[in-house]
Symmetry: C2
Subunit: 430 residues, 2 copies
């Protein structure tokens, strides 16, 4: 891997998401060599992926080149690679570009879509955890509309214009809202020869409320907003299968749809080589103690979505979201620095800053620890927080400009099929 051996200890971080990035930042300007490994050369701001999928933003404005972030940082090395396995007995990470030894290892591999073992759904449904996946969804939506124009078979046309989103968490809610706005303002203009009323947006949630984990007020209001926008919200309905044509459920309603987006679950992006008892099989998360140390190891940490720090208060670990990831990444960096200088390590305490979701223009729900509100003001807060959280001035400026433009013009202009999904790219899901 051509990383120089120095007298400084080496910390290897696997993954440049929220957690990995926070850890890498926290280790800057120390007498520590940091090596960050990621399979992408950019950090993805996942909360805005749904806007890339629905033509509101270009991918380059929500992603940031990892090398650029660390341009001026000494003793920092980035390597574009996938990790094959870790060898804790030898303190070695095995990657697609060679082996690398470490003194301390931070696993920040994040999460991936959880299909709960259903290979049919995995094969035919779309997922939205990365930029290329979001671009695939964008292409597919538009390709289906182009195809809908061509058929005289009503069932077929309905299937092409039927969108099923499985999962009523923030991703599903935000995507359903964005699709509903496309249906309202954009698609009737782009496809005047289609009857856009035939377009259906179905949001299917297995439990009895949307946005589980947020307040009941937020959940109810989000549902109201979605219904107002014309989304069919199905609660207490569980998707059993999808064969590429028909979505089968445990209820009376099945759906014939060409586009199914699976936002019903995530699981840790597991890594090979850990002892069996460190891993929670079902959720594919790594058990960590209150210092984010992986059980039975003292120099391996897991942070963010892939880590499960269970306690009485959080029996299933912290929510798989940006905030716990960032906070854990930061603290692990501090703790590693303390360790090297023989200081005491600090326990992780999650500071829940609240959560929010946007449904459409002027429509968002925000739960702060002491204040819960919905509507226009919530929407501005949502925008401000997301804009502020993007890395880099250019990204902030471009996203802001796009939002202002989209708001004024009721538009989402980046609806280009740059890489057709249906014809050529179906197998490429990088």
């Amino acid at each position: 891997m051509n990383i120089p051996q120095t007298s400084f200890p080496r910390v290897v971080i696997i993954g440049g998401g929220f957690a990995g990035l926070a850890a890498a930042k926290g280790l800057e300007e120390q007498e520590i060599q940091v090596v960050l490994i990621d399979k992408h050369n950019y950090h993805t701001f996942q909360p805005l992926l749904y806007q890339v999928a629905t033509g509101g933003l270009e991918p380059d404005s929500i992603a940031f080149p990892l090398r650029k972030r660390f341009n001026d940082v000494e003793n920092f090395y980035f390597r574009l690679a996938e990790v094959v396995k870790i060898h804790p007995d030898k303190n070695i990470v095995e990657t697609t570009i060679g082996d690398l030894d470490y003194d301390e290892l931070i696993i920040a591999t994040g999460s991936t879509t959880n299909f709960f073992g259903n290979t049919n759904i995995q094969k035919f449904a779309m997922e939205m955890k990365s930029v290329p996946q979001s671009l695939n969804i964008r292409s597919l939506i538009l390709e289906n509309f182009e195809e809908a124009l061509l058929t005289s078979n009503i069932d077929e046309r309905n299937a092409l214009m039927n969108f099923v989103i499985v999962g009523g968490g923030p991703t599903g809610v935000e995507l359903a809202g964005a699709l509903a706005e496309m249906k309202k303002a954009i698609l009737p203009k782009d496809y005047p020869d289609l009857d856009i009323r035939q377009m259906q947006i179905n949001l299917i949630q297995s439990s009895d409320c949307l946005l589980k984990g947020m307040s009941s007020k937020a959940s109810e209001k989000a549902e109201d907003f979605l219904i107002g926008l014309g989304v069919n919200v199905w609660k207490n309905l569980r998707v059993l299968d999808y064969d590429g044509k028909t979505v089968t459920t445990n209820g009376e309603d099945n759906f014939r749809a060409e586009t199914v987006i699976w936002a019903a679950g995530v699981k840790g992006q597991m890594i090979d080589g850990l002892q069996q008892d460190c891993v929670i099989e079902r959720a594919a998360r790594i058990k960590v103690n209150e210092f984010n140390q992986v059980e039975s190891y003292t120099n391996i940490y897991a942070v963010g979505d892939v880590a499960c720090m269970s306690s009485e208060k959080n029996p299933y670990g912290h929510p798989m979201m940006a905030q716990p990831a960032i906070q854990q990444g930061k603290l692990v960096a501090k703790n590693i620095i303390s360790k090297f200088s023989n200081k005491k390590q600090k326990e992780f305490v999650y500071n829940d800053k609240g959560s929010m979701a946007t449904i459409g223009r002027n429509k968002a729900v925000v739960d702060l620890p002491k204040w819960k509100f919905q509507g226009v003001f919530a929407w501005f807060v949502w925008m401000f927080v997301h804009l502020f959280s993007l890395i880099g001035f250019r990204n902030k400026a471009i996203v802001f400009l796009n939002w202002v433009y989209n708001y004024i013009r009721f538009d989402r202009e980046t609806r280009l099929i740059i890489r057709p999904y249906k014809k050529k790219n179906k197998e490429i899901n990088f």
Copy 2:
């Protein structure tokens, strides 16, 4: 294709580039049904593709959704399809989504890369005529740098950092300049552990001057600018072959390079079904008369790059650039309207507004009919003209913002490998 038959005559336009778009615009608000067919759902502003390839702009800001452009136009239909063949005897266009009859047909298929029959070069060299191709170049440049980091073999590392651009026309010159600026300002920061001096940018031109077709002053100055930026300019050197490793030339110098960009020629994007004698084999262009009518047909027109209107003044037809394409598209629209109202058609007279090329920041060359100038002012003129020519307010604003940012920060921030080229996409060249 589900296009309604009306009492209006139907004009079918193949291709939504500069020529096709100008023709479609010219036919708006007439008692004419217009059907535009393109294999992409967007218009590409080709003059700025090199900035997408070198990380200066995101693709969405130089492309524009074709449907959006014609949102409010009545009797206009867009179809996303590839044309298989035309059948002039039956007045039918055969496409991948079915047949369509026409009253008047405008062929505006543009041009494609001309490898002059060399299948090796076609297989191993990169081309840059479309957005996906530009993104492939962007990915390849960055992937090669990531790989260069890993090897200890000096020859291999040099090959990975050796860029050969074949063709000293505007595309080759602009690309070489942009790469030189990446070498200067960005790559040393992103890859501090590489010796960027080893990066070579070779621009190979078969004749004795760059920018053939522009003034000798422009040509000389462009060469000066490039040399000043550290580009190796090779004149009177002809590339004979490239096997993926070594570029063979007719001179003493061969080049070992992993990245070869072929900008040495274009040819018409020919269409099947025309009589043999309408086609100029070598250049793959369609012979047209002064009304852009294809020889031996009265209701088939060819415009833009694919058309060859030869005259005493222009024995090889007009240059394959945006200006003749736009002017021909406009005039053909007018002439078709005249034809339907039994008015006299007008001959095409090319209004040469001049040409320009940019080499780098503050460095451009401009040839206007009555004034030729180079340097900072030329660069501002180049920027203004290109900004002004982009379609849509959003695109103009985003490009402007990027340019200001890149200028102030000496940066090109959109350097993301969104779809790896080397590993996965080599066969996909859509």
